[in-house]
Symmetry: C2
Subunit: 201 residues, 2 copies
DNA sequence: ATAGTATTAACCGATTCGGTCAACGGAGGT
DNA sequence: ACCTCCGTTGACCGAATCGGTTAATACTAT
């Protein structure tokens, strides 16, 4: 892509990025026209083609950006340093919501790109996603200190419970256009506290 | 639509329905071509236009079919007659999985149609969805007998927990192509039993 | 004015779209 | 063998859309 893109005022860069995320997240790669992205970003199609040589380049650029932003945000959130399982999940969701404020459609875009099958981009796509693919084994619970939890609790089931509910939250957030992010966060915090009182000694 | 459609062997009807659900669920109404649906169903585009006068008619027919099938299946599942909250949710998920076996992409289609904004179908769509819209207040908990549950449990939070986790399950099921429906059901059953041991006296 | 840069309208050839229509093929009936 | 009916299709149409190019415009600093 054209280096000039980075010299743009940040607000304009953001508009273009988000327009790309938005359009590509709603339809497949092939069914997402460049002029629609340009229109959403408030620029002309020609200018979009000036910054990105072709559609494929823009698409892959967006994917790289998404991967880079998520891993960076997640690392900076401190959720990996958390020892308390519940606080760790809370920090994780906090990080995600922060990103959703700045890039509302990025996660939807990434999710869709993950399953994109179009031969024009498939291979290069897999190459970008590859490292992230193995990491998605987070359905299995991390190591926990059983002495912290009430007796008789099936920790495996507990983790499934809170993991699925958290995913249900994320699902809610992405569904149906705009939502009150702050309310979601505070609701989730309440749920976390509920779980703590339920499971912790 | 053409009455001849109903005279088709059921297997062929099913193929056409599912092809429509599939294609319309992956892209917006405008970006879902008729020839793609025909190809997916294994018939020619001409024949598809023989059964359905135009794209709009097919789309609305599918929506009506989806609404009709879900409400009917849900009613027949007996989940409304259940008094036990947990068993009620289990029956509800059972009904949904049964439908997913026969119409794998119907719920994804219905979900997407719910937010479809294309002016060509928007108004007629709303008219079909309207009754179902008010009903979606199931985020608030039904009436429960507190004496059945352990003391000190915040029933409101408990319901949010299991409701969200259930949605997380449904989310899992729809995501990422084909999955083992039977495994999902048995996993969910385990989770239900876990909740019972956790919350019930 | 000038030079350089950011931005666009207009255009191009190729493809796709919704929809039509004449024709094909097979299964009786005569 | 011929006819007829009917499910089905390939070929076609005009319009729209697509990715991408280019020549010209608007803007800005000198």
């Amino acid at each position: 892509m054209n280096e000039k893109f980075y010299q743009l005022p940040e607000e304009k860069q953001l508009r273009i990025l988000n327009a790309g995320f938005r359009v590509f997240s709603k339809n497949s790669y092939r069914k997402s026209p460049m002029n629609e992205i340009a229109g959403e970003a408030g620029i002309s199609k020609s200018l979009l083609f000036f910054y990105f040589r072709n559609k494929k380049e823009l698409y892959l650029f967006l994917m790289k950006k998404a991967e880079e932003l998520t891993s960076q945000t997640l690392r900076a959130s401190g959720c990996y340093g958390e020892t308390d399982l519940f606080e760790m999940m809370y920090q994780g969701l906090l990080a995600k919501t922060d990103m959703m404020r700045k890039y509302p459609d990025m996660s939807a875009f990434a999710l869709r790109a993950y399953y994109e099958e179009d031969e024009e981009v498939r291979d290069d796509l897999r190459r970008i996603i590859a490292p992230y693919t193995k990491l998605s084994t987070n359905k299995t619970l991390p190591k926990l200190d059983p002495s912290l939890f009430k007796e008789g609790i099936d920790l495996n089931m507990m983790y499934q419970d809170i993991f699925l509910a958290s995913e249900g939250y994320m699902y809610h957030m992405q569904q149906g256009g705009r939502i009150d992010v702050d309310k979601v966060v505070s609701d989730y915090r309440k749920l976390i506290d509920f779980w703590k009182s339920l499971y912790l000694k």
